[in-house]
Protein backbone atom coordinates (compact mmCIF):
# COMPACT_ATOMS: atom_id res chain seq x y z
CA UNK A 1 0.00 0.00 0.00
CA UNK A 2 1.17 3.51 -0.71
CA UNK A 3 0.93 6.70 1.25
CA UNK A 4 -2.10 8.90 1.89
CA UNK A 5 -1.25 12.53 2.54
CA UNK A 6 -3.81 14.61 4.47
CA UNK A 7 -3.81 18.39 4.35
CA UNK A 8 -4.97 19.47 7.82
CA UNK A 9 -6.83 22.75 8.11
CA UNK A 10 -6.48 25.25 10.90
CA UNK A 11 -9.52 27.29 11.86
CA UNK A 12 -9.54 29.77 14.74
CA UNK A 13 -6.23 28.48 16.08
CA UNK A 14 -7.24 24.81 16.11
CA UNK A 15 -7.10 21.82 13.78
CA UNK A 16 -10.69 21.64 12.55
CA UNK A 17 -12.93 18.62 13.01
CA UNK A 18 -12.97 17.91 9.25
CA UNK A 19 -9.20 17.19 9.42
CA UNK A 20 -9.80 14.50 12.05
CA UNK A 21 -12.38 13.04 9.69
CA UNK A 22 -9.69 12.82 6.99
CA UNK A 23 -7.45 11.12 9.57
CA UNK A 24 -10.26 8.65 10.29
CA UNK A 25 -10.59 7.79 6.60
CA UNK A 26 -6.83 7.52 6.09
CA UNK A 27 -6.15 5.40 9.19
CA UNK A 28 -8.92 2.98 8.18
CA UNK A 29 -7.57 2.60 4.64
CA UNK A 30 -4.51 0.51 5.43
CA UNK A 31 -2.24 3.01 3.70
CA UNK A 32 0.72 4.68 5.36
CA UNK A 33 -0.62 8.00 6.73
CA UNK A 34 1.19 11.32 6.49
CA UNK A 35 -0.16 14.82 7.02
CA UNK A 36 0.66 18.38 6.17
CA UNK A 37 0.06 21.14 8.70
CA UNK A 38 0.67 24.54 7.17
CA UNK A 39 0.60 28.02 8.65
CA UNK A 40 2.83 30.21 10.81
CA UNK A 41 3.58 29.29 14.43
CA UNK A 42 1.68 26.01 14.09
CA UNK A 43 4.25 23.47 15.30
CA UNK A 44 2.27 22.77 18.49
CA UNK A 45 -0.79 21.98 16.36
CA UNK A 46 1.34 19.66 14.22
CA UNK A 47 2.54 17.84 17.37
CA UNK A 48 -1.07 17.47 18.49
CA UNK A 49 -2.26 16.19 15.11
CA UNK A 50 0.59 13.65 14.98
CA UNK A 51 -0.77 12.12 18.19
CA UNK A 52 -4.38 12.05 17.01
CA UNK A 53 -4.32 10.20 13.69
CA UNK A 54 -2.16 12.48 11.56
CA UNK A 55 0.67 9.95 11.32
CA UNK A 56 3.96 11.48 10.24
CA UNK A 57 3.26 15.20 10.12
CA UNK A 58 5.10 17.54 7.80
CA UNK A 59 4.95 21.05 9.16
CA UNK A 60 5.34 23.90 6.68
CA UNK A 61 5.71 27.34 8.20
CA UNK A 62 5.98 30.64 6.35
CA UNK A 63 4.60 34.17 6.61
CA UNK A 64 2.77 33.59 3.33
CA UNK A 65 0.88 30.72 4.99
CA UNK A 66 -0.27 32.71 8.05
CA UNK A 67 -3.64 33.35 6.37
CA UNK A 68 -5.24 31.25 3.67
CA UNK A 69 -3.67 32.08 0.32
CA UNK A 70 -4.46 30.00 -2.77
CA UNK A 71 -1.01 30.41 -4.34
CA UNK A 72 0.96 29.70 -1.16
CA UNK A 73 -1.22 26.74 -0.13
CA UNK A 74 -0.94 25.24 -3.62
CA UNK A 75 2.85 25.54 -3.62
CA UNK A 76 3.30 24.17 -0.09
CA UNK A 77 0.98 21.23 -0.82
CA UNK A 78 2.89 20.39 -4.00
CA UNK A 79 6.12 20.41 -1.98
CA UNK A 80 4.53 18.04 0.56
CA UNK A 81 3.27 15.67 -2.16
CA UNK A 82 6.79 15.46 -3.53
CA UNK A 83 8.44 15.02 -0.11
CA UNK A 84 5.95 12.36 1.03
CA UNK A 85 5.70 10.41 -2.22
CA UNK A 86 1.95 10.26 -1.59
CA UNK A 87 -0.27 8.35 -4.00
CA UNK A 88 -3.47 9.80 -2.57
CA UNK A 89 -3.96 13.39 -1.37
CA UNK A 90 -7.01 14.22 0.78
CA UNK A 91 -8.23 17.75 1.47
CA UNK A 92 -11.47 18.82 3.16
CA UNK A 93 -14.10 20.39 0.91
CA UNK A 94 -14.19 23.69 2.80
CA UNK A 95 -14.02 27.24 1.38
CA UNK A 96 -10.22 26.97 1.33
CA UNK A 97 -10.11 23.30 0.27
CA UNK A 98 -12.31 23.77 -2.80
CA UNK A 99 -10.33 26.88 -3.68
CA UNK A 100 -6.84 25.37 -3.91
CA UNK A 101 -7.29 21.57 -4.25
CA UNK A 102 -8.21 21.76 -7.97
CA UNK A 103 -5.09 23.89 -8.57
CA UNK A 104 -2.93 21.22 -6.93
CA UNK A 105 -4.55 18.50 -9.05
CA UNK A 106 -4.05 20.51 -12.25
CA UNK A 107 -0.39 21.14 -11.39
CA UNK A 108 0.12 17.39 -10.84
CA UNK A 109 -1.93 16.48 -13.95
CA UNK A 110 -3.75 14.15 -11.56
CA UNK A 111 -7.14 12.50 -11.25
CA UNK A 112 -9.38 14.82 -9.20
CA UNK A 113 -12.64 14.07 -7.41
CA UNK A 114 -14.42 16.64 -5.25
CA UNK A 115 -16.76 16.53 -2.26
CA UNK A 116 -16.73 12.75 -1.80
CA UNK A 117 -18.56 11.23 1.18
CA UNK A 118 -16.95 7.78 1.01
CA UNK A 119 -13.83 6.09 -0.39
CA UNK A 120 -13.62 2.48 -1.55
CA UNK A 121 -10.63 0.53 -2.79
CA UNK A 122 -10.66 -1.30 -6.10
CA UNK A 123 -7.41 -3.10 -6.87
CA UNK A 124 -5.34 -0.48 -5.08
CA UNK A 125 -7.04 2.41 -6.88
CA UNK A 126 -9.37 4.68 -4.89
CA UNK A 127 -13.04 4.89 -5.92
CA UNK A 128 -15.22 7.67 -4.54
CA UNK A 129 -18.90 8.10 -3.78
CA UNK A 130 -20.26 11.61 -4.16
CA UNK A 131 -23.47 13.49 -4.75
CA UNK A 132 -24.52 14.89 -8.13
CA UNK A 133 -27.48 17.06 -9.15
CA UNK A 134 -27.40 18.80 -5.76
CA UNK A 135 -28.06 15.57 -3.89
CA UNK A 136 -30.86 14.20 -6.06
CA UNK A 137 -28.54 11.40 -7.29
CA UNK A 138 -25.30 9.78 -6.13
CA UNK A 139 -22.35 8.77 -8.32
CA UNK A 140 -19.64 6.12 -8.01
CA UNK A 141 -16.49 7.64 -9.50
CA UNK A 142 -13.42 5.64 -10.56
CA UNK A 143 -9.92 7.05 -10.85
CA UNK A 144 -6.82 6.18 -12.88
CA UNK A 145 -3.14 6.71 -12.24
CA UNK A 146 -1.27 8.25 -9.39
CA UNK A 147 -1.39 10.54 -7.55
CA UNK A 148 -5.12 10.94 -6.99
CA UNK A 149 -6.36 14.18 -5.40
CA UNK A 150 -9.75 14.33 -3.65
CA UNK A 151 -11.73 16.65 -1.44
CA UNK A 152 -13.97 15.12 1.21
CA UNK A 153 -17.30 16.48 2.43
CA UNK A 154 -16.98 17.72 6.03
CA UNK A 155 -19.26 15.89 8.45
CA UNK A 156 -19.74 12.88 6.16
CA UNK A 157 -17.32 10.48 7.86
CA UNK A 158 -16.36 9.66 11.44
CA UNK A 159 -13.42 11.53 12.98
CA UNK A 160 -10.35 9.57 14.18
CA UNK A 161 -10.62 9.05 17.89
CA UNK A 162 -7.66 6.91 18.94
CA UNK A 163 -4.10 7.97 19.51
CA UNK A 164 -1.04 7.58 17.31
CA UNK A 165 2.64 8.28 17.83
CA UNK A 166 3.55 10.06 14.64
CA UNK A 167 6.57 12.31 14.45
CA UNK A 168 6.78 15.87 13.21
CA UNK A 169 9.20 16.81 10.42
CA UNK A 170 9.91 20.27 9.06
CA UNK A 171 9.12 20.83 5.42
CA UNK A 172 10.50 23.69 3.36
CA UNK A 173 7.33 24.84 1.56
CA UNK A 174 9.45 26.47 -1.16
CA UNK A 175 7.03 29.32 -1.68
CA UNK A 176 7.82 31.57 -4.62
CA UNK A 177 5.68 34.29 -6.11
CA UNK A 178 2.15 34.70 -4.68
CA UNK A 179 0.00 36.83 -6.95
CA UNK A 180 -3.07 36.63 -4.73
CA UNK A 181 -3.01 38.97 -1.75
CA UNK A 182 -4.97 38.30 1.43
CA UNK A 183 -6.56 41.51 2.71
CA UNK A 184 -8.83 40.63 5.65
CA UNK A 185 -11.63 38.46 6.96
CA UNK A 186 -14.87 40.32 7.66
CA UNK A 187 -16.98 38.74 10.38
CA UNK A 188 -20.61 38.00 9.57
CA UNK A 189 -22.72 41.12 9.93
CA UNK A 190 -25.18 41.21 12.78
CA UNK A 191 -28.23 39.74 11.20
CA UNK A 192 -31.28 40.94 13.06
CA UNK A 193 -32.72 37.43 12.66
CA UNK A 194 -31.01 35.02 15.03
CA UNK A 195 -32.39 31.65 14.06
CA UNK A 196 -29.83 29.83 16.20
CA UNK A 197 -31.86 30.65 19.32
CA UNK A 198 -35.31 29.73 17.94
CA UNK A 199 -36.86 26.52 19.25
CA UNK A 200 -39.22 26.21 16.29
CA UNK A 201 -38.28 27.16 12.72
CA UNK A 202 -40.50 26.99 9.65
CA UNK A 203 -38.42 27.36 6.50
CA UNK A 204 -39.68 27.91 2.97
CA UNK A 205 -38.04 26.98 -0.31
CA UNK A 206 -38.45 27.57 -4.00
CA UNK A 207 -41.54 25.34 -3.84
CA UNK A 208 -43.49 28.32 -2.50
CA UNK A 209 -43.25 29.73 -6.00
CA UNK A 210 -43.40 33.46 -5.24
CA UNK A 211 -42.11 35.92 -2.61
CA UNK A 212 -45.59 36.95 -1.42
CA UNK A 213 -46.28 33.36 -0.31
CA UNK A 214 -43.93 33.84 2.64
CA UNK A 215 -46.08 36.47 4.42
CA UNK A 216 -49.37 35.04 3.09
CA UNK A 217 -48.92 31.31 3.60
CA UNK A 218 -45.91 30.65 5.83
CA UNK A 219 -46.14 33.51 8.34
CA UNK A 220 -49.54 32.38 9.77
CA UNK A 221 -48.05 28.94 10.51
CA UNK A 222 -44.95 30.54 12.04
CA UNK A 223 -47.18 32.72 14.23
CA UNK A 224 -49.45 29.85 15.27
CA UNK A 225 -46.38 27.86 16.38
CA UNK A 226 -44.66 30.85 17.98
CA UNK A 227 -41.59 30.11 15.90
CA UNK A 228 -39.26 31.87 13.50
CA UNK A 229 -39.16 31.91 9.70
CA UNK A 230 -36.22 30.61 7.70
CA UNK A 231 -35.46 30.08 4.02
CA UNK A 232 -33.34 28.06 1.64
CA UNK A 233 -30.56 29.53 -0.47
CA UNK A 234 -32.49 29.74 -3.78
CA UNK A 235 -35.11 31.91 -2.04
CA UNK A 236 -32.42 34.28 -0.82
CA UNK A 237 -30.56 34.26 -4.15
CA UNK A 238 -33.80 35.22 -5.91
CA UNK A 239 -34.15 38.19 -3.55
CA UNK A 240 -37.44 36.92 -2.04
CA UNK A 241 -36.03 37.23 1.50
CA UNK A 242 -32.84 38.83 2.90
CA UNK A 243 -29.75 36.67 3.51
CA UNK A 244 -30.39 36.86 7.26
CA UNK A 245 -33.14 34.24 6.84
CA UNK A 246 -30.92 31.69 5.11
CA UNK A 247 -30.43 28.31 6.76
CA UNK A 248 -27.46 26.34 5.44
CA UNK A 249 -23.70 26.07 5.34
CA UNK A 250 -23.40 29.61 3.97
CA UNK A 251 -26.17 30.95 6.20
CA UNK A 252 -27.10 29.98 9.73
CA UNK A 253 -26.58 26.51 11.15
CA UNK A 254 -29.59 25.77 13.35
CA UNK A 255 -30.61 23.07 15.83
CA UNK A 256 -34.19 23.88 16.93
CA UNK A 257 -36.51 21.46 18.72
CA UNK A 258 -38.74 21.46 15.63
CA UNK A 259 -37.79 22.26 12.03
CA UNK A 260 -40.47 22.32 9.36
CA UNK A 261 -39.15 22.41 5.78
CA UNK A 262 -41.79 23.58 3.32
CA UNK A 263 -41.13 23.23 -0.41
CA UNK A 264 -37.41 22.64 0.17
CA UNK A 265 -35.85 19.80 -1.81
CA UNK A 266 -32.83 19.55 0.48
CA UNK A 267 -29.63 20.50 -1.37
CA UNK A 268 -26.62 19.43 0.67
CA UNK A 269 -25.79 23.00 1.63
CA UNK A 270 -29.25 23.29 3.26
CA UNK A 271 -29.08 19.87 4.97
CA UNK A 272 -25.78 20.79 6.60
CA UNK A 273 -27.50 23.77 8.19
CA UNK A 274 -30.50 21.98 9.73
CA UNK A 275 -29.92 18.23 10.04
CA UNK A 276 -28.96 18.64 13.71
CA UNK A 277 -32.52 19.74 14.53
CA UNK A 278 -34.26 17.62 17.17
CA UNK A 279 -37.37 16.84 15.10
CA UNK A 280 -37.75 17.50 11.38
CA UNK A 281 -40.96 17.66 9.33
CA UNK A 282 -40.69 17.91 5.53
CA UNK A 283 -43.51 18.92 3.20
CA UNK A 284 -42.71 18.48 -0.49
CA UNK A 285 -44.50 17.20 -3.56
CA UNK A 286 -41.45 15.25 -4.84
CA UNK A 287 -41.20 11.89 -3.01
CA UNK A 288 -37.53 11.59 -4.05
CA UNK A 289 -36.51 14.96 -2.56
CA UNK A 290 -33.35 14.49 -0.41
CA UNK A 291 -35.01 16.40 2.45
CA UNK A 292 -37.01 13.24 3.26
CA UNK A 293 -33.75 11.44 4.09
CA UNK A 294 -33.15 13.61 7.13
CA UNK A 295 -36.79 14.20 8.09
CA UNK A 296 -38.58 12.36 10.89
CA UNK A 297 -42.03 12.96 9.42
CA UNK A 298 -42.65 13.53 5.73
CA UNK A 299 -45.67 14.70 3.79
CA UNK A 300 -45.66 14.11 0.04
CA UNK A 301 -48.34 16.53 -1.07
CA UNK A 302 -49.18 20.01 -2.31
CA UNK A 303 -47.84 22.46 0.27
CA UNK A 304 -50.55 24.99 -0.66
CA UNK A 305 -53.15 22.58 0.77
CA UNK A 306 -51.16 21.24 3.71
CA UNK A 307 -49.80 24.49 5.18
CA UNK A 308 -53.17 26.25 5.75
CA UNK A 309 -54.65 23.03 7.12
CA UNK A 310 -51.69 22.65 9.47
CA UNK A 311 -52.01 26.27 10.62
CA UNK A 312 -55.64 25.62 11.56
CA UNK A 313 -54.83 22.29 13.22
CA UNK A 314 -52.07 23.89 15.31
CA UNK A 315 -54.41 26.67 16.44
CA UNK A 316 -57.06 24.07 17.33
CA UNK A 317 -54.56 21.85 19.17
CA UNK A 318 -53.47 24.79 21.31
CA UNK A 319 -57.10 25.08 22.37
Amino acid sequence: MGTILIVAEIQKGKIREASYELAGLAQKSGHDVKSLVLGQGVRNLAEEFAKKGGGEVLVAEADALANYNADAFTQATLAAVQASGAGILLISNTPSGWDFAPRVAAALDAAFVSDAFAIEDEGGQPVFLRRVFNGRLDARVKTKGTPVVATIQPGATAPFEGSTDGKVTDLDPGIGECKTKFVEVKAAESKGVDLTKASIIVSGGRGLGAPEKFPELLQPLVDALGGAMGASRPVVDAGWLPHAYQVGSSGQVVTPKLYIAVGISGAIQHLVGMKGSNFIVAINKDPDAPIFEVADLGVVADLFEIVPALTNAVKAAKG
Binding site: W98, P102, R103, V141, K179, V236, A317
Partner: protein, 260 residues
Protein backbone atom coordinates in the same frame (compact mmCIF):
# COMPACT_ATOMS: atom_id res chain seq x y z
CA UNK B 1 -10.71 45.25 -20.99
CA UNK B 2 -11.58 41.83 -22.29
CA UNK B 3 -13.65 39.44 -20.17
CA UNK B 4 -14.11 35.75 -20.92
CA UNK B 5 -17.11 34.07 -19.28
CA UNK B 6 -17.23 30.26 -19.06
CA UNK B 7 -20.77 28.89 -19.37
CA UNK B 8 -22.04 25.35 -19.00
CA UNK B 9 -25.37 24.21 -20.31
CA UNK B 10 -26.99 21.84 -17.80
CA UNK B 11 -30.32 20.02 -17.51
CA UNK B 12 -33.07 22.44 -16.45
CA UNK B 13 -33.56 22.50 -12.68
CA UNK B 14 -37.09 21.17 -13.13
CA UNK B 15 -36.09 18.43 -15.61
CA UNK B 16 -36.87 14.80 -14.84
CA UNK B 17 -33.73 12.92 -13.85
CA UNK B 18 -34.04 9.44 -15.34
CA UNK B 19 -30.92 7.31 -15.31
CA UNK B 20 -29.72 6.43 -18.84
CA UNK B 21 -29.59 2.78 -19.92
CA UNK B 22 -25.79 2.59 -19.52
CA UNK B 23 -26.23 3.78 -15.92
CA UNK B 24 -23.45 6.37 -16.23
CA UNK B 25 -25.46 9.57 -16.56
CA UNK B 26 -29.01 10.78 -16.91
CA UNK B 27 -31.19 10.35 -19.96
CA UNK B 28 -30.59 13.61 -21.85
CA UNK B 29 -32.94 13.09 -24.80
CA UNK B 30 -36.09 15.19 -24.75
CA UNK B 31 -35.28 17.18 -21.62
CA UNK B 32 -34.89 20.93 -21.39
CA UNK B 33 -31.49 22.51 -20.83
CA UNK B 34 -30.53 25.91 -19.45
CA UNK B 35 -27.40 27.91 -18.63
CA UNK B 36 -26.03 26.67 -15.29
CA UNK B 37 -27.47 29.06 -12.68
CA UNK B 38 -24.08 29.90 -11.11
CA UNK B 39 -22.78 30.84 -14.58
CA UNK B 40 -25.64 33.28 -15.19
CA UNK B 41 -24.37 35.26 -12.18
CA UNK B 42 -20.86 35.18 -13.69
CA UNK B 43 -22.21 36.50 -17.00
CA UNK B 44 -24.23 39.20 -15.25
CA UNK B 45 -21.13 40.37 -13.36
CA UNK B 46 -19.22 40.63 -16.66
CA UNK B 47 -22.08 42.52 -18.32
CA UNK B 48 -22.18 44.99 -15.41
CA UNK B 49 -18.49 45.72 -15.93
CA UNK B 50 -19.23 46.22 -19.63
CA UNK B 51 -22.11 48.58 -18.80
CA UNK B 52 -19.92 50.67 -16.51
CA UNK B 53 -16.99 51.06 -18.88
CA UNK B 54 -15.23 49.71 -21.91
CA UNK B 55 -15.21 45.95 -21.98
CA UNK B 56 -15.63 43.21 -24.53
CA UNK B 57 -17.48 40.18 -23.16
CA UNK B 58 -16.74 36.84 -24.83
CA UNK B 59 -18.64 33.73 -23.74
CA UNK B 60 -17.33 30.18 -24.16
CA UNK B 61 -19.12 26.87 -23.77
CA UNK B 62 -18.25 23.24 -24.46
CA UNK B 63 -20.79 20.74 -25.73
CA UNK B 64 -22.88 19.47 -28.64
CA UNK B 65 -25.13 21.50 -30.98
CA UNK B 66 -27.72 22.17 -28.22
CA UNK B 67 -25.15 24.45 -26.53
CA UNK B 68 -25.72 27.01 -29.32
CA UNK B 69 -28.96 27.93 -27.58
CA UNK B 70 -27.14 28.78 -24.33
CA UNK B 71 -24.63 30.90 -26.25
CA UNK B 72 -27.43 32.70 -28.14
CA UNK B 73 -29.12 33.46 -24.83
CA UNK B 74 -25.86 34.89 -23.47
CA UNK B 75 -25.41 37.00 -26.61
CA UNK B 76 -29.01 38.16 -26.23
CA UNK B 77 -28.24 39.28 -22.68
CA UNK B 78 -25.40 41.42 -23.99
CA UNK B 79 -22.25 39.36 -24.58
CA UNK B 80 -20.36 40.46 -27.72
CA UNK B 81 -19.32 37.15 -29.22
CA UNK B 82 -19.14 33.46 -28.46
CA UNK B 83 -16.78 30.52 -28.77
CA UNK B 84 -18.42 27.11 -29.03
CA UNK B 85 -16.13 24.14 -28.47
CA UNK B 86 -18.07 21.40 -30.25
CA UNK B 87 -16.15 18.16 -30.67
CA UNK B 88 -17.47 14.61 -30.21
CA UNK B 89 -13.87 13.55 -29.50
CA UNK B 90 -13.91 15.69 -26.36
CA UNK B 91 -16.90 13.84 -24.91
CA UNK B 92 -16.08 11.84 -21.81
CA UNK B 93 -13.45 14.37 -20.71
CA UNK B 94 -12.94 14.58 -16.95
CA UNK B 95 -12.75 17.93 -15.16
CA UNK B 96 -9.07 18.29 -16.03
CA UNK B 97 -9.82 17.62 -19.71
CA UNK B 98 -12.52 20.30 -19.68
CA UNK B 99 -10.09 22.67 -17.95
CA UNK B 100 -7.47 22.02 -20.66
CA UNK B 101 -9.96 22.93 -23.40
CA UNK B 102 -10.92 26.13 -21.59
CA UNK B 103 -7.28 26.99 -20.81
CA UNK B 104 -6.57 26.67 -24.54
CA UNK B 105 -9.38 29.15 -25.24
CA UNK B 106 -7.94 31.46 -22.56
CA UNK B 107 -4.59 31.27 -24.33
CA UNK B 108 -6.14 32.20 -27.69
CA UNK B 109 -8.26 35.01 -26.29
CA UNK B 110 -5.83 36.46 -23.68
CA UNK B 111 -8.60 37.98 -21.54
CA UNK B 112 -7.86 40.34 -18.64
CA UNK B 113 -10.50 38.65 -16.54
CA UNK B 114 -12.08 35.20 -16.65
CA UNK B 115 -15.44 34.67 -14.93
CA UNK B 116 -17.06 31.34 -14.16
CA UNK B 117 -19.70 29.98 -11.80
CA UNK B 118 -18.60 28.32 -8.56
CA UNK B 119 -19.94 24.94 -9.66
CA UNK B 120 -22.29 23.26 -12.09
CA UNK B 121 -25.74 22.17 -11.00
CA UNK B 122 -25.35 18.76 -12.68
CA UNK B 123 -21.97 17.24 -11.74
CA UNK B 124 -21.35 19.61 -8.79
CA UNK B 125 -17.57 19.26 -9.14
CA UNK B 126 -16.70 22.93 -8.51
CA UNK B 127 -13.20 22.31 -9.80
CA UNK B 128 -12.87 23.43 -13.41
CA UNK B 129 -12.37 27.18 -12.74
CA UNK B 130 -9.33 26.93 -10.41
CA UNK B 131 -7.88 24.29 -12.75
CA UNK B 132 -8.21 26.64 -15.75
CA UNK B 133 -6.42 29.34 -13.75
CA UNK B 134 -3.61 26.99 -12.68
CA UNK B 135 -3.09 25.79 -16.27
CA UNK B 136 -3.12 29.41 -17.48
CA UNK B 137 -0.65 30.60 -14.85
CA UNK B 138 -3.14 33.06 -13.38
CA UNK B 139 -4.35 33.59 -9.83
CA UNK B 140 -7.91 32.59 -9.00
CA UNK B 141 -10.50 32.85 -6.30
CA UNK B 142 -13.86 31.17 -5.70
CA UNK B 143 -17.28 31.84 -4.15
CA UNK B 144 -17.10 35.56 -4.95
CA UNK B 145 -19.92 37.59 -3.36
CA UNK B 146 -18.65 40.92 -4.72
CA UNK B 147 -16.14 41.89 -7.38
CA UNK B 148 -14.59 45.30 -7.96
CA UNK B 149 -12.07 46.11 -10.66
CA UNK B 150 -9.66 49.06 -10.62
CA UNK B 151 -6.26 49.73 -12.20
CA UNK B 152 -5.37 46.18 -13.14
CA UNK B 153 -6.39 44.81 -9.78
CA UNK B 154 -9.50 42.86 -8.80
CA UNK B 155 -10.81 42.92 -5.23
CA UNK B 156 -13.10 40.08 -4.31
CA UNK B 157 -15.12 39.31 -1.21
CA UNK B 158 -15.34 35.52 -1.06
CA UNK B 159 -17.86 33.67 1.03
CA UNK B 160 -16.68 31.63 3.99
CA UNK B 161 -18.83 29.59 6.33
CA UNK B 162 -21.57 31.19 8.44
CA UNK B 163 -21.74 34.41 6.44
CA UNK B 164 -18.22 35.76 7.04
CA UNK B 165 -16.27 37.07 4.06
CA UNK B 166 -12.61 36.91 3.08
CA UNK B 167 -11.29 39.85 1.08
CA UNK B 168 -8.59 39.03 -1.48
CA UNK B 169 -6.86 41.08 -4.15
CA UNK B 170 -5.69 39.63 -7.46
CA UNK B 171 -3.77 41.30 -10.28
CA UNK B 172 -5.13 40.88 -13.82
CA UNK B 173 -5.18 38.59 -15.67
CA UNK B 174 -7.05 36.46 -13.16
CA UNK B 175 -10.02 34.14 -12.78
CA UNK B 176 -12.99 34.67 -10.47
CA UNK B 177 -15.54 31.91 -9.81
CA UNK B 178 -18.71 33.49 -8.46
CA UNK B 179 -21.17 32.33 -5.80
CA UNK B 180 -24.87 32.40 -6.61
CA UNK B 181 -26.80 35.46 -5.46
CA UNK B 182 -24.06 38.06 -5.87
CA UNK B 183 -26.23 40.10 -8.26
CA UNK B 184 -29.66 40.05 -9.87
CA UNK B 185 -29.38 38.45 -13.30
CA UNK B 186 -30.95 40.30 -16.23
CA UNK B 187 -33.16 38.72 -18.86
CA UNK B 188 -32.41 38.89 -22.56
CA UNK B 189 -34.57 41.60 -24.13
CA UNK B 190 -36.34 41.04 -27.43
CA UNK B 191 -34.07 43.67 -28.97
CA UNK B 192 -31.08 41.86 -27.48
CA UNK B 193 -32.22 38.54 -28.91
CA UNK B 194 -32.64 40.09 -32.38
CA UNK B 195 -29.20 41.71 -32.16
CA UNK B 196 -27.69 38.40 -31.00
CA UNK B 197 -28.52 36.81 -34.34
CA UNK B 198 -25.83 38.94 -35.99
CA UNK B 199 -23.18 38.33 -33.34
CA UNK B 200 -20.38 35.89 -34.23
CA UNK B 201 -20.14 32.37 -32.81
CA UNK B 202 -16.80 30.67 -33.52
CA UNK B 203 -16.86 26.89 -33.48
CA UNK B 204 -13.70 25.07 -32.43
CA UNK B 205 -12.57 21.49 -32.02
CA UNK B 206 -10.02 20.13 -29.55
CA UNK B 207 -7.59 19.84 -32.47
CA UNK B 208 -8.12 23.51 -33.41
CA UNK B 209 -7.19 24.33 -29.82
CA UNK B 210 -4.12 22.07 -29.90
CA UNK B 211 -5.26 19.81 -27.07
CA UNK B 212 -6.72 16.82 -28.95
CA UNK B 213 -4.49 14.33 -27.10
CA UNK B 214 -5.35 15.70 -23.66
CA UNK B 215 -9.12 15.44 -23.79
CA UNK B 216 -11.91 12.91 -24.26
CA UNK B 217 -12.68 9.63 -22.55
CA UNK B 218 -9.31 8.15 -23.50
CA UNK B 219 -7.34 10.81 -21.65
CA UNK B 220 -9.71 11.00 -18.67
CA UNK B 221 -8.33 9.89 -15.30
CA UNK B 222 -11.75 10.13 -13.67
CA UNK B 223 -14.84 8.30 -14.86
CA UNK B 224 -18.35 8.18 -13.45
CA UNK B 225 -18.97 4.44 -13.33
CA UNK B 226 -22.62 4.74 -12.39
CA UNK B 227 -25.18 7.08 -10.92
CA UNK B 228 -27.98 5.90 -8.67
CA UNK B 229 -30.81 7.07 -6.45
CA UNK B 230 -29.26 7.70 -3.02
CA UNK B 231 -30.04 4.98 -0.48
CA UNK B 232 -32.52 6.37 2.02
CA UNK B 233 -31.08 7.32 5.41
CA UNK B 234 -33.22 6.58 8.43
CA UNK B 235 -35.90 8.01 6.16
CA UNK B 236 -38.98 9.95 7.05
CA UNK B 237 -42.12 8.24 8.23
CA UNK B 238 -44.53 9.36 5.54
CA UNK B 239 -47.84 10.74 6.80
CA UNK B 240 -50.72 10.05 4.43
CA UNK B 241 -54.32 11.11 4.15
CA UNK B 242 -56.34 14.19 3.22
CA UNK B 243 -54.83 17.61 3.94
CA UNK B 244 -56.89 17.88 7.14
CA UNK B 245 -55.99 14.37 8.30
CA UNK B 246 -52.30 15.02 7.68
CA UNK B 247 -52.52 18.37 9.47
CA UNK B 248 -54.22 16.73 12.50
CA UNK B 249 -51.48 14.10 12.73
CA UNK B 250 -48.69 16.68 12.43
CA UNK B 251 -50.28 18.98 15.02
CA UNK B 252 -50.73 15.96 17.32
CA UNK B 253 -47.06 15.10 16.99
CA UNK B 254 -45.98 18.69 17.65
CA UNK B 255 -48.17 18.70 20.79
CA UNK B 256 -46.66 15.36 21.86
CA UNK B 257 -43.21 16.97 21.58
CA UNK B 258 -44.40 19.53 24.13
CA UNK B 259 -44.10 22.43 21.71
CA UNK B 260 -47.64 23.79 21.78
Amino acid sequence: MKILVCLKQVPHSDARLDIASDGKWIQEDNIKFEINAYDTYALEEALRLKDSGEAEVVVVSIGPARVTQALRTALGMGADRAVHVNDPAAEGSDVLGVAKLLAAVVKEESPDLVFAGLMSDDANFASVPPMVAQLSGMPSTTAAMSVSVADGSVTVERELEGGSLEVVQLPTPCLVAVQSGLNQVRYASLKGIMAAKKKPVDTKTAADLGVADAVGAGAAKVEIEKIYIPPKGHGAEIVEGSADEVAQKLAGKIKELGLL
